[in-house]
């Protein structure tokens, strides 16, 4: 009695939706990030996974066929090579470019927005991004610094402000923009193809878009970790004004991406509000209010925030319980998931958190023992999705196998 793909698709989607809505599904759903595990499993390099669309696609399909998660992990943030090359992207090092062919991509930390640029950023973020930020993060866009602000070119008598586009440097930059657009279009085609291939096999896609906590956007990409931490002391008012500016922007980003993909699950990775990264008052002032507004904005638009709570947020759990019940997923990394079940069990669907040391260094029995505890305690009465603490990237294949098989067998609600 094999089910057809459409039935499988609906069954898997319902399983996850039940868990999110804090209902009891037929069994504990399992949804993970395969990340570069897909490449390793298919016997290709991470570099090939980043650059070769056909190999990427078949590797990504294979890992889903063999492990059968309840939702598919879209490989869009891995197949980036051609686009990043076209941009001369400097804010990341990726397989074969700055890190080895089998090393994961990594962000290049930096102060990409200077402290004295807060006013420009707050007044006109788009102009700041085009003329100040792009030249710093993309070598091909360095000439953008020579442009006049677009706001100067609004009618016939001031089109002269477009003159810089007549220079060879800016023409080369516009050419690079065109090439990056083509590479990005090509990547999108493959990602859509992946979605179709997954639907044919009965897998819904786990995420439909991405946004971030305003504090993280500002700290990750613009001010840098150290920059934003010092801003808490040196210019708290400006920091708060920038967060106010970013809040509707981050809602718009998430809602727009969700509407375009037709998939309401919006990923929000948390980076800079964990237990060690600020004190509780700072969390309540600079981190949580704008993050909560973003989540509420997504929920009001019919989306489901899937929040990847990175590092350890155990001390924040009480504060983070202030969300409407059954509308949010918290994927926990090192946060005490058992304590989280006590505090958030009637509010938030919990996801996670088989630890990386067990998956990378332990045995299948170690994995099963941890999964059993998760299912027994965190899975009690539903509201739980099995996942790793981060991704399967460096997990032993037999351990990944044990995690999937055990969850599907032992995780059945009877």
């Amino acid at each position: 009695m094999t089910k057809n793909p459409e039935e499988l698709y609906q069954e898997r989607l319902k399983r996850v939706e039940d868990a999110i809505a804090l209902r009891v599904p037929d069994r504990v759903p399992i949804v993970t990030f395969f990340s570069y595990f897909a490449a390793r499993y298919a016997g290709i390099t991470y570099e090939e996974y980043t650059y070769d669309a056909e190999k990427m696609l078949s590797a990504a399909i294979k890992v889903h066929e063999d492990f059968e998660p309840d939702m598919a992990d879209i490989p869009g943030i891995y197949y980036l090579g051609p686009t990043l090359d076209a941009l001369g992207f400097k804010q990341l090092r990726w397989p074969g470019r700055g890190v080895g062919p089998n090393k994961p991509y990594q962000f290049v930390e930096g102060e990409y927005m200077k402290a004295e640029e807060y006013d420009h950023f707050i007044e006109d973020p788009t102009d700041w991004i085009i003329r100040k930020y792009y030249p710093r993060i993309c070598s091909e866009f360095e000439p953008f610094s020579q442009m006049a602000p677009f706001k100067f070119s609004f009618t016939y008598f001031n089109m002269g402000s477009l003159a810089p586009f007549g220079t060879p440097a800016l023409q080369k930059a516009v050419d690079a923009l065109k090439k990056a657009g083509e590479a990005s279009m090509d990547a999108l085609t493959y990602i859509m193809k992946f979605g179709q291939e997954m639907a044919k096999r009965g897998f819904p896609i786990s995420l439909g878009g991405l946004t971030q906590a305003p504090y993280d956007t500002l700290g990750d990409y613009f001010r840098g970790t150290k920059g934003i931490m010092l801003d808490i002391y040196r210019r708290p008012e400006k920091l708060l004004r920038a967060l106010d500016k970013l809040t509707p922007w981050m809602i718009e980003l998430g809602v727009t991406s969700g509407k375009q993909s037709g998939n309401p699950f919006i990923f929000i990775p948390l980076h800079k509000g964990s237990d060690q990264f600020m004190n509780q008052d700072q969390f309540k002032t600079f981190y949580w209010p704008s993050l909560r507004k973003v989540m509420m904005g997504l929920i009001d638009a019919g989306m489901t925030p899937v929040v990847f709570v990175e590092a350890d947020h155990t001390s924040r759990l009480e504060i983070m319980s202030d969300v409407p019940p059954g509308k949010v997923v918290y994927h926990l990394e090192n946060t005490d998931i058992f304590k989280a079940k006590e505090i958030l069990g009637d509010k938030v669907c919990l996801k996670g958190n088989v630890p990386m040391p067990i998956l990378c260094l332990g045995t299948p029995d170690d994995v099963k023992a941890y999964c059993k505890k998760l299912i027994d305690v965190v899975g009690k009465n539903g509201g739980f999705i099995m996942d790793t603490s981060v991704s399967l990237e460096d997990a032993k294949i037999e351990n990944a196998r044990a995690m999937f098989d055990f969850t599907k067998d032992y995780g059945v609600y009877r």
Binding site: K226, L230, Y233, M278, P357, G362
Partner: protein, 210 residues
């Protein structure tokens, strides 16, 4: 007034601390005494961190203030004055990993606790670790990593240190978000440091018991 300086630094009052330090130096206070005040302030900051009163932004802020004041003091000092060290530490983020916030905090605390720190930066190959260990003969080696790729790189680094015949001369600690005691055992390190304070304690313990 120099008591006041200690408290201003420890309470992260940047402008007042700098003004006070400037006043003291203008008034003829020995720059070495100012540096001693900085050390006292660091100790208070470290305690507050340990007690959960201070967090990473506080450490970074205190680091900024200390750097500004010590530059001020050192500009008034005669060249060639060196102080004794509690021990030597070679540290770095292992090969394939570019993350350094945690490592930098540990380095900062090690220096504040009179260790001479040789920070090799990020993406440090086993060969670079071995080379530096051979050159400076440290008491302690610290390996940092935020990614799971670090597990393998840490093991390769320890293996390279063994192969170079240097393993018996050093104590090795590891740290970083995905690491724990299990990882320390598996890569062949002597210990896992759960945070900066713990790392300092381990290092102090090792240099006094060797």
């Amino acid at each position: 007034m120099s008591e006041k300086l200690v408290n201003l630094i420890a309470d992260l009052q940047e402008e007042e601390a700098l003004a006070t330090a400037r006043q003291l130096i203008e008034g003829g206070t020995d720059p070495m005494a100012i540096l001693e005040r900085c050390r006292e302030a660091t100790e208070i900051v470290g305690k507050r961190f340990e007690q959960g009163q201070y967090f990473i932004p506080d450490l970074l802020m205190s680091g900024e203030i200390l750097q500004e004041i010590s530059e001020l003091a050192k500009s008034r000092m005669k060249k060639g004055i060196t102080t004794g060290y509690a021990g030597k530490v070679v540290m770095g983020t292992v090969e394939g990993d570019l993350h350094d916030i945690g490592k930098n905090i540990v380095a900062f605390f090690m220096e504040a606790n009179d260790f001479q720190v040789f920070d090799l930066g990020v993406d440090v190959t086993p060969e670079k670790f071995v080379e530096k260990i051979r050159e400076v003969q440290p008491d302690v080696v610290g390996m940092s990593g935020l990614l799971t790729v670090a597990f393998k790189a840490m093991k390769e680094t320890v293996d390279a240190i063994k192969e170079a015949g240097l393993r018996e001369q050093v104590k090795i600690m590891i740290g970083g978000a995905p690491t724990n005691e299990q990882v320390a055992n598996s890569v062949g390190a002597d210990a896992y440091a759960k945070d900066a304070q713990h790392g300092i304690e381990l290092a102090k313990h090792w240099v006094t018991s060797c």
